[in-house]
Amino acid sequence: MAINPDYLGREYPAPEVYEVTRGKIREFAEAIDDLNPVYLDRASAKAMGHPDVIAPPTFPVILGMAGSALAIADPDLGVDFSRVVHGDQGFHYSRPLYAGDVLSTVTRITGIKALGGNELLTLETVAEAADGEHVVTASMMLVVRGS
């Protein structure tokens, strides 16, 4: 199966906004076994100058899930998910994510190419706050391994 190159540039807006909650930040911080008080305790976060607890730097991978799932599940794009491994990942922040943020996200297909029998699919998710402020851009490259 080959990825359809016509899908370069296609956009997948998340159907719903993402609400960053203290509970979800705590769950994620516990899952990565990183109990930094800036993630868990509002007073500690405020002492660092943040309005509330902040999310760990890799937390925004969650923001890309909705749009990426739509892209990967799109039958016309032609991704065989059983052969997908994660190739690379990047985050570029305008500011940290805070508990209480309500973020809208759009995932775009920014790269499709073949390399050594594999196919590489790059998805970029941009997250903006309710007032339109850019918060973070997450870029993910997936490798669809050739059989």
Partner: protein, 141 residues
Amino acid sequence: MSRLKYDDVETGATIPERTFPVRRLDLVRYAGASGDFNPIHWNERFAKSVGLPDVIAHGMFTMAEAGRLITDWTGDPGSVVDYSVRFSAPVVVPDDDQGAEITVGGKVKSKNDDGTVTVMLTARSAGAKVLAKASAVVRLA
């Protein structure tokens, strides 16, 4: 926790290595928290059927552990303005109580004119280099 200051950082300085455990339970917990339920991260039968040696860790779990080296070093996770990695080899996690280990290290690559600092990271597991081109840019006071 005290915050690292720009003036206290020297180009070429190393951040001491740390080792983080990865067991099957960690992967199950991470799958739930992140929403990434790809069976290659918890189902040995499935992982082997698609040609992997065994269950492998989420790349994002490794990226998160490597990130701790940076956020604990700066003292404020909010200092991170850029963080990117390439997953160059899988972290293979056997079905036993020890699991695998990821050893992470860092080095200051540059102090930038805009008050940021660029750090290069390394990560190894079972002798394999599991992250490549791993770098973070942090903004320090």
